[in-house]
Amino acid sequence: MISSPIFWLAPPFLRWVAYFCSLWTLAIPILMAQSGGATFTEYQVKAVFIYNFAKFVEWPPRDAKGPLKIGILGDDPFGDYLDEVIRDKTIRNRPIETRHFRTVDNLEVCHILFISNSERKRTPDIIKILAGVPVLTIGEGRGFAEQGGMIGLVIDDGKVRFDIKAKAAKASGITVRSQLLDLARGVKK
C-alpha cells in the first residue's frame, strides 16, 4: 500500500491516516503472535525442562548404550507434550523414550523418573525404594526436594523454577553439572 503511487499522491492528512492504519494492520499479527507465544500450559513447559535436565546430568556408566528412559509414575499430566518434545531428539547420541508406571516395581530401569502429583502421598516411600539407585527423581512442589527428591519443579509467579537436592543426586551416583546448579532456585546440600 505504501509503495503504490496513489499513496504518495494523496493529500498529507489522508496519507497520514492511511499510514497509521497500515501500521496497525501490521502490528496486529505481531501482537497476536506475541501474546499467543508468550504463554504455555504448565506441563508443556515442564516437559521441556525435563528434557533439558537430561542434558546436564551424567549417569554412572552402567549401561551406556540403548535409549535414555524417562519414566512417569502415576497419572500422566503431560499427555503428548513430553513425547512431542523428545521425538527425534538424542542426548549424547542416545535416543530418548518414555515409559509409564503405575506401581513401584521395576522403576530402576529409568534414568529419569517423574513422580506425578497423584503419588504425592507415597513419595517418601518411592524415594526410599530408589535410594542409591542412579535414577534422577523429578517431582512437583516445594516439598519434593525436602522429602528427599532430587529436582522439585515449582511454579513461582507464573514461571517454572526448580530446586535441586545435590546431595541426594550425588549419593545415587548421578553427577549434576554446575551450570544446572547455578540456575536452581534453591540448592540443598
Binding site: 499467543g36 508468550a38 504463554t39 500450559t41
Partner: protein, 664 residues
C-alpha cells in the same frame, strides 16, 4: 443455547490447536535460562483429578477468583454451574445449589478446610462472616448433589469446600489497598515465613468498610457494614510421614440492615434499621499420617464460635467443637477403603427479644457419626465402583442413615462417564424445633392478632433420594466439556402452616396468637441439566462457558390445608448462562470479562437480569500490581433476590473499584 455456542466456536478452534503444536516444538529448542522466563498457565492438573470422580464437581481456582474480579467468597461462587447466587443486599446473599436458595439455604453444606460453617442453630450459612484474603484460597470445590455419605447431614443439595493455601505457598509479604464506590475502602496485609527447616507460617489480616447498596427508588439502602479480621496458618511436615496444620481466625465488625418488623400501630409494619455486632473466632488443627503402602490417617479437631448481637435478634454465642478421624486404606492395588467417625458438640445461647426467642434459650446438642466407603477398580482400572454409607445420630431426630452408590467409567484422561444414586437428609435445627419468632401483627375481631412462628419439636428430617449421571470429555486437549443431569426426589419437605389460634393473656395489647408451625408437609421433585466447558483458545486466551437448567415440581402432602408451593418452586431461576473470558495481553496486562444471564424468579417478582463484569490487571513491576474492576456494567442497579421474612432486598448497583498490591 450452550450447544449452539459450542458448535459455533468449534470451527476457529482447529487453527489454534495447530499453532499450539507449532509453539510446543519451538519451546523444545529453548535453553533452561529462556524457559525460566516463559509464563505458564496451569489448568490441566485440577481438571484431571476432578475427571476421576463420580460426582458433579466444579473447582474454582485461585486464578479464577483473581481474574473474575470477585471481592468476596459469595461473588466467586457465581462462576460455578448449577449454583444460584443472588446478592440480597450489601451484606447478605441467597446462595443455593439446585434450588432452595435463600438467606438460609438449609440444604447446602459449606466448609472451610473441613470446618463446617453451616450454622446448626439457624440452619444455613452466614455469608457475611465467611471471608478471608481471597488470595489465601487455593481453590473452592463446588459439589452439586448429595454428599451425606461423606459429609453427613445437611449436605443435601450440594457442598462448597473452601480450601486454603498451605503456608509454604504464601511466603513473603503482601500489602493491598484500594477503593470502590460499592467496595468502599479496603486493605489487606499478609506475611509468610519459615520456622525451622520444616515449618512454614503466615499471618493475614484484612478490613473493609462498605457503604451499602441501593434502594429501588434511588439512594443508599442504609445497609452499610464493616469488618476487620486476622488469621494465621502453620504447616509443619516431617520428612517421612506426618503433616500437621494449625489455622485460626478472629474477626469483628458490624452490619446495618433495614428490615421489616411487626409493630402494634397501623400499618403494623415498620422499616427498622437493625444493627448487628458480628464477631467470631475459630481454630482448627489437622494431623495427617501417611503409612507405608500409601494408607493415610487423618485427625481433625476444631473449635468455632460465632456471635451475632442485634437489637431484634441476638445470638450471644453459637459454638461448635468437633473431632473427626478418617482412615484411608489401600487394601490392594485395586481396592481402597475409607472409614472414620466423629463427634460434634454444638452449644448456643440466645438473648430473647420480643421478635425472636428460643425455648430453652440456651442448649447443648450432640452429633456423633461414623462412615465407611469402598472404592473398587475393575477391568484394568477402567471401571470404578464406589459404595458407602454414613450413620449419624443427632439430638433432635436420633439415627439417620445416608448411603450412596456410584459407578465411574474411566477412559483415561480424555473421557469419563458416571452414574450415582444417594440418600441425604437435612436435620432440624434449633429454629425448626424450638424458636418463636414474631412475623406479623394484624387486627382481628377480638383485638390484635400476632402471627408467630413456633418451632415444632416433632419435625422430622427432610429427605432426598437423588439420581445423577455425568459425562466428561476432552477434545484435542484444548476443549473440555462436562455434562450432568439429575433427578431429585424429595420427601418430608418443610412447609409452614397456620395452626389453631389461642389466647395469650400475658400480652393484652395483642392477645391472640396465630401460630405458624413448620411441618413435614411437602413432597416433590427437581430435575435439571448443567453443562460447563473450557476452551483454551490460545496460550493467552481462555474461555469458560456454563449453562444450568432447573425445574421444580412440589406438592402438598397435607390433607385439607391449602399450601402454596410456588414461592419455593420459583426461588431459583430456571435458566442460568455464564461466559468468562480471560485474556493475557503483552506488557503484563490481563483483561478478563464475565457475562451472566439469569432468568426471572416467576411469581416472586424478581425480573431476569444480565450482568457483565470486567477486570483489568497490570503487573507494573516485579513487586507492584494494579487491578481495576467494573461490575454490573450493564445497568445502574438491579434486583437479584426475593423478599423473605426479616429480609428486605436492596438493589445491586454498578460497582467500580481499583486496587494496588505490593509484594515483597
Amino acid at each position: 443455547m450452550a450447544l449452539v455456542l459450542l458448535i459455533s466456536l468449534y470451527q476457529p478452534q482447529t487453527t489454534h490447536a495447530d499453532t499450539g503444536k507449532a509453539h510446543a516444538k519451538d519451546l523444545a529448542d529453548l535453553s533452561i535460562q529462556e524457559l525460566m522466563e516463559v509464563q505458564v498457565t496451569s489448568v490441566s492438573r485440577k481438571d484431571q483429578k476432578l475427571s476421576k470422580t463420580a460426582s458433579a464437581v466444579y473447582a474454582i481456582s485461585s486464578e479464577d477468583i483473581r481474574r473474575s474480579g470477585a471481592t468476596s467468597i459469595p461473588e466467586a461462587l457465581r462462576m460455578a454451574p448449577g449454583v444460584q447466587v443472588a446478592q440480597v443486599n450489601a451484606s447478605q446473599w441467597a446462595i443455593g445449589i439446585r434450588g432452595f436458595n435463600g438467606i438460609f439455604s438449609n440444604k447446602l453444606l459449606v466448609m472451610v478446610d473441613g470446618r463446617s460453617v453451616y450454622n446448626p442453630m439457624f440452619a444455613g450459612v452466614f455469608w457475611d462472616v465467611q471471608d478471608m484474603l481471597l488470595d489465601d484460597i487455593d481453590h473452592i470445590e463446588v459439589i452439586r448433589g448429595p454428599g451425606g455419605t461423606m459429609w453427613g447431614s445437611n449436605a443435601v443439595n450440594g457442598i462448597v469446600n473452601i480450601i486454603t493455601k498451605s503456608a509454604d505457598q504464601t511466603q513473603g509479604g503482601l500489602l493491598t489497598t484500594g477503593w470502590g464506590n460499592q467496595e468502599g475502602s479496603f486493605g489487606e496485609a499478609r506475611f509468610g515465613g519459615k520456622a525451622g527447616s520444616s515449618a512454614h507460617y503466615r499471618v493475614s489480616s484484612k478490613f473493609f468498610r462498605r457503604p451499602g447498596q441501593q434502594r429501588a427508588e434511588g439512594g443508599r439502602a442504609e445497609d452499610d457494614w464493616d469488618m476487620a479480621r486476622g488469621g494465621f496458618r502453620v504447616d509443619w511436615s516431617s520428612p517421612r510421614r506426618d503433616a500437621l496444620m494449625v489455622s485460626g481466625d478472629i474477626y469483628g465488625g458490624g452490619s446495618n440492615l433495614p428490615i421489616p418488623v411487626a409493630v402494634l400501630d397501623p400499618p403494623f409494619q415498620r422499616r427498622f434499621r437493625e444493627h448487628t455486632d458480628l464477631s467470631g473466632t475459630n481454630i482448627l488443627t489437622r494431623w495427617t499420617r501417611t503409612h507405608a503402602g500409601g494408607s493415610t490417617s487423618d485427625l481433625r479437631v476444631y473449635y468455632d464460635r460465632v456471635q451475632r448481637e442485634g437489637s431484634t435478634a441476638n445470638a450471644r454465642f453459637i459454638e461448635s467443637t468437633d473431632f473427626d478421624y478418617q482412615n484411608q486404606l489401600n487394601t490392594s492395588s485395586s481396592n481402597q477403603v475409607m472409614w472414620g467417625g466423629g463427634y460434634r458438640r454444638n452449644r448456643d445461647s440466645i438473648l430473647s427479644t420480643p421478635f425472636l426467642s428460643f425455648q430453652p434459650p440456651s442448649r447443648t446438642t450432640h452429633l456423633y457419626q461414623a462412615f465407611v466407603h469402598d472404592e473398587m477398580r475393575l477391568f484394568s482400572d477402567q471401571l470404578l465402583i464406589a459404595v458407602g454409607t454414613k450413620f449419624e445420630h443427632n439430638s433432635f431426630t436420633g439415627w439417620e442413615v445416608q448411603p450412596s452408590a456410584a459407578l465411574l467409567w474411566d477412559r483415561g484422561q480424555n473421557e469419563s462417564a458416571w452414574l450415582s444414586v444417594a440418600r441425604a437428609v437435612r436435620i432440624p435445627s434449633r429454629v425448626t424445633a424450638e424458636a418463636q419468632a414474631l412475623i406479623q401483627v394484624f387486627p382481628g375481631p377480638t383485638g390484635l392478632n400476632r402471627l408467630v412462628y413456633m418451632g415444632n419439636p416433632a419435625f422430622k428430617p427432610e429427605e432426598l433420594i437423588s439420581c445423577q449421571a455425568g459425562y466428561r470429555v476432552r477434545l484435542r486437549r484444548t476443549v473440555s466439556l462436562d455434562l450432568t443431569a439429575f433427578y431429585n426426589d424429595y420427601d418430608n419437605l418443610e412447609t409452614t402452616i397456620p395452626g389453631v389460634p389461642f389466647a395469650d393473656p400475658s400480652f393484652p395489647a395483642a392477645p391472640t396468637i396465630i401460630p405458624l408451625i413448620p411441618l413435614n408437609g411437602r413432597t416433590g421433585r427437581a430435575r435439571g441439566v448443567e453443562a460447563a466447558s473450557t476452551w483454551r483458545l490460545s496460550g493467552s486466551s481462555q474461555l469458560h462457558l456454563s449453562y444450568s437448567w432447573l425445574d421444580f415440581k412440589l406438592h402438598s402432602s397435607l390433607a385439607g390445608v391449602s399450601d402454596d408451593v410456588s414461592a419455593t418452586e420459583d426461588i431459583a431461576p430456571d435458566h442460568q448462562f455464564h461466559v468468562r473470558w480471560y485474556h493475557d495481553l503483552p506488557g503484563g496486562l490481563q483483561w478478563d470479562n464475565s457475562y451472566y444471564f439469569v432468568t426471572s424468579l416467576g411469581s416472586l417478582g424478581v425480573p431476569a437480569y444480565h450482568r457483565v463484569d470486567s477486570r483489568i490487571g497490570w503487573r507494573a513491576s516485579k513487586h507492584v500490581r494494579f487491578s481495576f474492576g467494573l461490575q454490573n456494567a450493564l445497568d445502574n442497579q438491579h434486583l437479584e433476590a426475593a423478599e423473605e421474612v426479616r429480609v428486605l432486598p436492596s438493589e445491586i448497583g454498578r460497582s467500580v473499584y481499583g486496587k494496588i498490591s505490593y509484594d515483597f
